[in-house]
Symmetry: C2
Subunit: 354 residues, 2 copies
């Protein structure tokens, strides 16, 4: 018998701007019609993905109804929810609201996305939960949207990105963490970008492979920042979920951070614990893209080293690098650990009850 | 008889970190001794200036007492205040507090700089006034320092830079404007940088000439941002002073902004006035480095076009590009306009009474 399954990273997609219009007040509908979208990084979306996989999607994920992959709930049921008997799926909508240069407009788009999620997704399938889209580069506006949207019980997370204008530990973003704690929600960080500059610390890379791999580097920078800036001490109820950032980097990073902290704790005298403490207790990580060690058997020691409570399974449906729940592990994982990763950890983190 | 003279941009310099220690609490003294300075742009200061003019200073400005130019009040009296019969001089201390990556430390350094300014400068010569140094990339901390420091009547301005992490009109910086209005002080923007990235929108330039000229471009970006983000509408008492950014770019910029606003005002429906209105009523600009048109006589029409109330004279003492108050204009300026620029406009802006 298979383990019960929670999928922590599924992408629902706004089929076109027209689909959002019913959720926008007149003022912002006019603005959308007048200006469309003016983002910090206008070209990132356009060329970051391989041409062979438009919208970074599985070739078989284009629904017969005609919209883009992820836009049709019935087709998502067929390909994902029913096919793998998913008990709960967490939707992370990556609509371009947080990247808008005009922040009040970004906030209006985020609110429209969230209302659209409630009406077209959360209210239509009891297995669905969703992350709140927020204009996080304007934290005060983001906090207001969290306060508003969290009233619906289908929202289980606040959504940020790992490539940001400042490291996410900075005081600038604290109103978001405050609002998330007020709502009792974790903060998820999902692969995407709002940075107006190059997407790596060394400038713009040439290849998609570099972009995709570089995400793991970006997540590390954010984890270092969140821990060292004291965010977890400041917000004792805050939980962070890293989505699509990998996890093999966790053990070496924590070792180095702990060692440095041991020798240089005078630089951060207010930090309450060694860095790895925060990772163990306050951070959760989704599995896709699943790590694939050269020797498949090395995966299990890695899973243990990261921690049996840390990892939560995800497919990343409908993207091209989808992890099939039946085949994601290329080696045999002990039953207890497997069950935690596929189900228990996510159920505890998001407080799912069925 | 010469016009009375106010010098709106003079640099007092902290002779060494040791001079600040008496103004730092134990915690931050230890931090300074442990870490020194870790700034966003560690190399900018080191190579931006021509080697022939260390610290960007006049070669004759090194005081006999041994410190760097601008560090010795007696020598400043000899070379500037007495030499030109300066009635008031506004000190803009560019100590590296705002550039600190660790914002709470930057705030502590800023407070120390301000206390040092009170004790070593403002209380020692009745002609001196000063700008408040603030860690402006952490606006909440900056606002707190404004509230604290503004209690001393010698502070007449809050000091920001034109190369920042975000355009200064963004909501992020609004707590600073709110605090400045609370204190009844204008906000000055003086040539310098906190950006962690390249200092121009096209990347890192090769030459000091490009850096110096690029400042005028940076100031334009900030003026566009401050106006278009509605900062002046939001803070009706806010006055902005642009220091060392030039002013020849003002008329063409305002014309283009007004024309675009006329055609695209739907994009910014909340803006109360045409853009040039805000420049005329809410922005003041210091003269150094004085514009030098190819035909010297063209300066006067330019001065008129910018506006007779806008410009305020400055020397930039002790820097190498010092403007001599007796020789700054390379052409004859009408007496009334000359008096406004040398004295009246600054006196009104800073509310000097003698």
């Amino acid at each position: 018998m298979r383990d019960r399954l929670i999928d922590c990273d599924v992408h629902n997609v706004v089929s076109s701007d027209a689909a959002l219009l019913p959720y926008l007040p007149d003022r912002w509908r006019r603005h959308l019609e007048l200006t469309g979208s003016r983002t910090f990084s206008p070209f990132v979306k356009g060329y970051a993905y391989p041409k062979a996989a438009p919208l970074a999607s599985r070739r078989d994920a284009w629904p017969p109804s005609g919209g883009p992959p992820g836009s049709d709930l019935d087709f998502m049921r067929t390909q994902l929810l029913d096919a793998y008997d998913v008990e709960f799926a967490v939707l992370n909508c990556l609509y371009r609201a947080p990247e808008q240069r005009y922040d009040v407009y970004g906030a209006a788009l985020a609110a429209a996305v969230n209302d659209w999620q409630v009406e077209c997704w959360l209210e239509r399938d009891p297995r669905l939960r969703a992350s709140i889209t927020v204009p996080f580069e304007s934290p005060a506006l983001a906090a207001a949207e969290i306060d508003r949207a969290a009233a619906h019980p289908g929202f289980v997370q606040v959504l940020l990105y790992p490539r940001t204008q400042q490291p996410l530990g900075k005081r600038h973003y604290w109103p978001i963490y405050e609002a998330a704690c007020r709502a009792g929600l974790p903060v998820g960080i999902h692969a995407a970008s709002t940075t107006p500059g190059p997407i790596t610390a060394a400038g713009w890379p040439s290849y998609y492979i570099e972009d995709h791999t570089g995400l793991a580097v970006a997540f590390q920078a954010q984890v270092i920042s969140l821990i060292m800036e004291g965010v977890f001490d400041r917000f004792p109820d805050l939980q962070i979920v890293l989505l699509e950032g990998g996890f093999a980097w966790v053990p070496p990073l924590m070792q180095r951070l702990d060692a440095l902290h041991h020798r240089l704790h005078d630089e951060v005298p207010d930090l309450q614990h060694p860095p790895s403490h925060y990772l163990r207790h306050r951070i959760r990580i989704t599995t896709q893209p699943m790590e694939e060690p050269e020797r498949p058997g090395d995966l299990v020691p890695l899973l243990h080293e990261v921690g049996q409570d840390i990892l939560m399974f995800s497919t990343d449906y409908p993207h091209w690098d989808f992890d099939n729940p039946h085949r994601a592990f290329q080696t045999r994982v002990p039953a207890d650990l497997h069950r935690r990763i596929m189900y228990d950890n996510a159920r505890a983190q998001y407080r799912f009850t069925s």
